[in-house]
Amino acid sequence: MSDVQQDTEARRLAEDARERAKFEEEVLQLADQVYRVARRLVSSREEAEDLVQETYARAFRSWRSYTPGTNLRAWVFRILTNLNIDRGRREQRAPATEPLEEGDYFLYNRLEEDGGAAGEERVVERLSQDGIVRALSAVPHDFRDVIVLVDIGDFTYQEAAQILDIPVGTVMSRLHRGRRVLKQELAETAVEN
């Protein structure tokens, strides 16, 4: 290899290292959001920590498959949700499609019945924190994944569809149904007497 070629190669390697460091820095800045979502996709803190760590190891390893300028957050969360599926942490079954008996006003009606009239802010305070965590974890995975991405992770419908590799219409229907299922679970597990 000539001196010129060696020089070109050295510059290319240095540029590569800089790009990689920048990429890793940007991915690390997402860590709080990744943990927040991971914690609710799986049932225990230990599992969530393992999942996040594996996600980062894979993201750093496969950095070349990320196209600069595209949605980095969606790219990282896609790794997270795929790993979660690969590790068999979720049952692969079709979500129930039978109609729900209760609509969206159900939880408020239940809380109002139990505790009498109060401001809407006060009514919500009848739900216990532990109960909310239990209720969310009782929501079937297919619905919970979408609720966690959209309502906890702040992803748009389109981003959630991209991450989970499902159509946007499916994201919306699972989200609407999942929120209703969550309200039913909340009515059963989270209402403080």
Binding site: A17, L28, A31, Y35, D104, I132, V133, H176
Partner: protein, 78 residues
């Protein structure tokens, strides 16, 4: 959207898409017109907004500091 004889039932169906800003202009106008005159639905819409915030706060756990350190240690050495 399905036909509803009861305007409150229709408003209930619009609750989630309304809060997600996923209604057409016309549907949003219809929901807001009903909400302006119906305290029953208004209360339930406000509750839903509070509920979303409340659930989000309740299920959010701070990331353990040592996990953050472990992730940083996975970086490629320069």
């Amino acid at each position: 959207m399905a036909m509803f004889a009861d305007p409150c039932q229709k408003c209930e169906e619009m609750l989630q898409p309304y809060l997600d800003r996923d209604l057409s202009e016309e549907e949003r106008f219809e929901a807001e017109t009903h909400l302006n005159s119906c305290s029953y639905c208004r209360k339930r819409y406000r509750f839903e907004e509070s509920l979303r915030r409340y659930v989000r706060q309740a299920v959010t756990e701070p990331m353990p500091a040592e996990l953050k350190e472990r992730l940083a240690s996975l970086r490629t050495p320069l």
